[in-house]
Amino acid sequence: MLIPHPLLGLRDAQEFTYLGDASLLNRPDASSPDAAVAFFDYVYLRDNPAGVHRELWFHEQGDRSWLIVTRNTLTHEILNAELACESAVKSEVLA
């Protein structure tokens, strides 16, 4: 597979380390009353869709940036790739 790195262009997937669902960006608030339940969901429960999936890839053999790659798990078509740090800031602004 080739991943369209937002800064470096098309890069071979072998340069990356895969982590999984991009929902890992949404770490729960440890001070909230339901933190125990929220963390259980965060750590163990994830969707495993057959289709479009937002997921985290680490450019470990490259510039060490974390990317959010939107990939169709049925066809391996890659619809988008963005820097996780920008996405994380964005979602915070939106929230």
Binding site: M1, L2, R27, F40, F58, E60, A84, C85, A88
Partner: protein, 980 residues
């Protein structure tokens, strides 16, 4: 000899080769198969299950029968298809799968017992008695099964791998592939043209069709010459594109020197990873046969293969020139074999065609009927022809069979695109949802006439370039034949007797009938029940015929019956080339520590630690056992001073105004409050609450920390910290740099360490008052070399770790040993390091194994309640918080006994099973300080059981040791030494 005239072989260059020890002569341009046929050799092997004598069936990579073992010794190569083996001078080949000589195989008794070996025989028979399976049945079956055998020796040849990029990859160099490559090549785009054959031209070489009134080979020669002159075109013969992968990536194997007598050290094969913007699949088609009783005798061959052998290789399919040939075909194409053979002077006595409207193309007898039996155990002697219910035996030396052609859709289906049935072609053609960027052309998409193949190749090139935004002119094509071969569906001859469908796995029509009776009707079940198509040829000549038989039995149409899923590789790929030379020492890189050179000069034995090679211990003169060296090194540290390279521990530079806050969230303990110039021990948790790494964190300045990790987790900790920085808290102003390789770090440990260091530092005050335990500083040593000094101790002694730029590591260690000689400075390795950390009760990889918690490590109080950090919330959850196992020490009651790591702990007198299991020994060593074996491990409520005697059981070796529960701190439990 049955060598004919003409063809595209070099009649002047003779090549000698041996088959089963007998020497033959072939010609340059021959394959092993064509050379054997030209020598009148029809019998080339034995079948897999019934050990039936077999001959060459095809003229290409689809060959199921002619599998041979090439070469010998370590270079022995089993299961090689003689039909694609390019002949070279000195080639050695032998047949496979027989006991005794090929013509008198003792295992052929299986053929007489064939009723016993029907499909499902193993499943049903070897079920009982159960105990017999492992001891009797399986070894017997394993011995009988399999075709060629491996040499068992390491492959001595060199292999390589490489990467290629192109605008257009053309797979297949026949009519369609050549016109596509020429069209795209002239337009100037970067083209790769690959073909598995050693000669380009595909079926153009095998047929007698003319192009522009000239032999097709003239056109092929002209095109190849033009392509060779185009810098933007890379022509790759002997290259099989075996798989279609994601995003335009294709796998290919180039047989670089397989065809050379003496490779002279050249790479034998190269694995190519080709990234192509667009691709054209022009892989041609594979002829199918027609199953009829005893259709597997040597001399029975695909009709198209017969044409190829006669036209390209000037080889007749018979053993003697006077033996007549008979053709059995359901289509016009088969008749061409008769006319081509006649033109070459090979006698053809009849063409048998079941079609009532079959035409005649030449001077041969046309029989409207079928072939329904054959004779000639080691080579065909006669066939039975049945016409209007009347049968007669006709003598012949070879039989050509044609049941139509199957487009080679394989590579278009590797992404699960399902082929679709074409009623006019009577074949599956590529369907929708082809791999991105792929166009299929020529016979592979059913455009099988020469004109259609040429034209579809050019059209595919124009379309491919248009998709790249390049307008290309269609090139002029030569005039050629455009007669489609008429055919009628005729799948098999239904008569008593075994009619082979899959030659390589010995699957007959009867087996398919049996599968139908047993309700193994879906194609996936049919395949697994009968093993149809599961041999090395992957059923290239059999799958569609089998589907047709099953369709007939179920009364369904062929498309309803379905087709199997195609997966890479298209043809077998050797493991050697997949390794691509990355074997043995080159399997992965070796990381040397900065002090490797000096350590080697001091007699170090090295050990692999992850990718690193670290000094394990230093053997001195007179030492004959590693324990002597290790004990000496440990005692030298505890009484004088020792030196150890600890560079491999991960080092991460953390800088920025928010570095302190960031580290508070990374470590479970408070780190932000660390004073400048001080070091603190820290534990990191995974988000699920388990401990996963520990190390030290030094604060060099307000906004600059240095984190150390364990050797094993250096990469993972860095990855997780980057995850936290970029994904969890991008608002924090902090930067991370992995500096593991930048700094050489040397532990200087032992009561004399301060004195030794004072001899290399540049006027730095090392006194306990100024530089106490857990202090750190940036300084210079040896007259101006920048360094970092940390007063930390893994051994429990007064100790320091000193870091200098990596390139000075070797010199620094040498200097320290030199100036500390009078102080007893002794290099020590990982073994002594391990002994001393067990003596001190420090956790390492065996304790931090990913299943243990900070509490179990007796570090539970470190998990701060005042702040959130990774894993803090989950570490307090039910189940983890209640875990009562604690890290404690163990001392054997009988001091002469050794405790073994991995032993499980049980209360004395208790039965031993998983429910009474009390914990396990994580690390054990002989302690020269204590004078006996010692261990640490996790024990249920271990901290409350000091003094109790428990059993450390090692049932694997049938041993057990009575041990006393003690403090894990065997040396200086108060920690006075490291604070002095």
């Amino acid at each position: 000899m049955t060598r004919l005239t003409g063809g595209v072989i070099d009649h002047e260059t003779a090549l000698r080769f041996t088959f089963n020890g007998k020497t033959y002569s072939g010609r340059k341009g021959d394959t092993l198969a064509s050379a054997l046929l030209a020598n009148g050799v029809q019998l080339v092997g034995r079948s897999f299950k019934y050990h039936r004598p077999r001959g060459v069936l095809s003229a290409g990579s689809e060959e199921p029968n002619a599998l041979v073992t090439l070469r010998g010794g370590a270079r022995e190569e089993p299961n090689t298809r003689a039909t694609v083996t390019e002949l070279f001078d000195g080639l050695r080949a032998r047949s496979q799968n027989h006991v005794g000589p090929l013509h008198r195989d003792f295992m052929a008794v299986n053929d007489l017992l064939s009723p016993l070996f029907a499909s499902g025989f193993y499943y049903k028979t070897f079920m009982w008695p159960r105990a017999f399976w492992e001891k009797l049945y399986e070894p017997l079956i394993r011995h009988a099964a399999g075709l060629g055998r491996l040499s068992g020796e390491a492959d001595p040849d060199a292999y390589d791998k490489g990467f290629l990029h192109c605008d257009l990859l053309v797979i297949g160099g026949g009519a369609a592939g050549l016109s596509a490559a020429l069209g795209a090549g002239r337009a100037g785009v970067k083209v790769i043209l690959a073909d598995e054959d050693f000669q380009f031209g595909g079926r153009l070489l095998a047929e007698t069709h003319q192009l522009d009134g000239m032999p097709a080979t003239s056109w092929v020669t002209a095109v190849m010459a033009e392509l060779a002159g185009l810098e933007n075109v890379r022509v790759m013969p002997r290259t099989t594109v075996f798989g279609t992968y994601d995003h335009g990536i294709y796998g290919a194997v180039e047989r670089v020197s397989d065809h050379l007598s003496a490779a002279d050290g050249a790479v034998r094969q190269t694995l190519w990873r080709i990234t192509a913007k667009r691709s054209i699949l022009a892989a041609g088609a594979t002829e199918r046969h027609i199953p009829f009783p005893n259709n597997d005798r040597p001399g029975i061959m695909l009709a198209g293969a017969m044409r190829a052998y006669a036209n390209r290789w000037a080889a007749s399919p018979t053993r003697h020139p006077s033996d007549p040939v008979i053709i059995f075909t359901n289509n016009d194409d088969g008749h061409r074999t008769a006319t081509d053979l006649l033109a070459k002077g090979v006698p053809v006595s009849a063409v048998v065609d079941p079609r009532s409207d079959a035409p005649t193309f030449g001077d041969y007898e046309l029989i409207t009927g079928v072939v329904d039996d054959t004779k000639g155990r080691l080579g065909l002697t006669s066939v039975r022809v049945t016409q209007n219910g009347q049968s007669r035996w006709m003598p012949c030396g070879a039989l050509g069979v044609s049941g139509g052609w199957n487009p080679n859709v394989h590579l278009s289906s590797h992404h699960r695109s399902k082929p679709v049935w074409d009623d006019a072609l009577l074949a599956f053609v590529p369907g929708k949802d082809l791999p991105n960027g792929m166009i299929v052309a020529g016979a592979a998409v059913g455009q099988g006439t020469t004109v259609k193949a040429l034209r579809s190749g050019v059209e595919a090139a124009v379309s491919s370039l248009a998709a790249l935004g390049i307008a290309a002119e269609p090139i002029d094509l030569p005039d050629a034949d455009d007669t489609a071969a008429a055919q009628t569906a005729f799948w098999h001859v239904s008569r008593k007797g075994r009619a082979w469908v899959d030659f390589q796995n010995d699957v007959t029509v009867k087996d398919i009938v049996l599968a139908h009776q047993e309700n193994m009707r879906p194609v996936e079940h049919l395949k697994r029940w009968t093993t149809l198509g599961m041999a090395t040829d992957q059923g290239k000549t059999s799958n569609i015929s089998a589907l047709a038989v099953m369709a007939e039995l179920t009364g369904k149409s062929l498309p309803e019956t379905g087709t199997t899923i195609f997966r890479p590789p298209y043809t077998g790929v050797t493991l050697s080339v997949l390794g691509g030379g990355d074997t043995g020492k080159h399997f992965r890189p070796t990381r040397y520590t900065p002090t490797h050179q000096w350590s080697a000069s001091q007699g170090a034995t090295f050990v692999e630690v992850g990718a690193w090679l670290r000094a394990q211990y230093f053997v001195q003169p007179g030492e004959t056992h590693w324990r002597q060296s290790v004990d000496r090194e440990v005692l030298a540290v505890r009484s004088g001073v020792g030196l150890c390279d600890v560079t491999t521990l991960g080092k991460i530079d953390v800088q920025g105004p928010d570095a302190a806050e960031f580290l508070n969230r990374i470590y479970c303990n408070m780190m932000g409050t660390l004073a400048v110039g001080r070091v603190r021990y820290g534990v990191m948790l995974r988000e699920d609450g388990h401990a996963y790494d520990d190390g030290t964190c030094a604060r060099l300045s307000e906004n600059h920390f240095v984190v150390t990790t364990t050797t094993a987790n250096a990469a993972i900790v860095y990855r997780n910290m980057e995850f936290a920085r970029q994904c969890l808290w991008p608002e924090l102003n902090v930067s991370l740099i992995s500096t593991t390789d930048a700094w050489a770090q040397i532990a200087v440990a032992g009561p004399n360490s301060r004195t030794l260091l004072s001899r290399v530092v540049d006027g730095f005050d090392l006194s306990n008052e100024v530089f106490p335990f857990m202090a750190c500083a940036e300084l210079t040593v040896c007259g101006g070399l920048r360094a970092r000094l940390f007063r930390i101790s893994f051994s429990g002694e007064l100790a320091y770790e000193i870091a200098v730029p990596a390139r000075y590591g070797n010199a620094l260690l040498e200097r320290l040993a030199q100036v500390g000689a009078d102080l007893g400075a002794t290099p020590y390795g990982t073994e002594a390091l391990g002994v001393m950390r067990i003596e001190k009760g420090h956790a390492a990889g065996s304790e931090l194994n990913g299943q243990t918690t900070a509490q179990m490590l007796s570090l539970g109080r470190m998990v701060s309640e005042k702040k959130d950090s990774i894993g803090a919330v989950m570490s307090r959850r039910e189940g983890l918080a209640q875990d009562k196992r604690r890290l404690v020490g163990f001392s054997p009651i009988d001091k002469s006994e050794a405790i073994v790591a991995g032993s499980h702990l049980f209360t004395q007198g208790e039965t031993r099973n998983t429910t009474t299991d009390q914990g396990w020994i994580t690390s054990a060593a002989y302690s020269p300080h204590v004078g006996s074996s010692i261990a640490i491990g996790f024990l249920e409520e271990g901290d409350a059981r000091m003094g109790e005697v428990v059993i450390a059981a090692n049932p694997l070796e049938g041993r057990e040791v009575r041990v006393e529960v003690v403090s894990p701190h065997f040396v200086d439990p108060e920690g006075g030494r490291l604070r002095d």
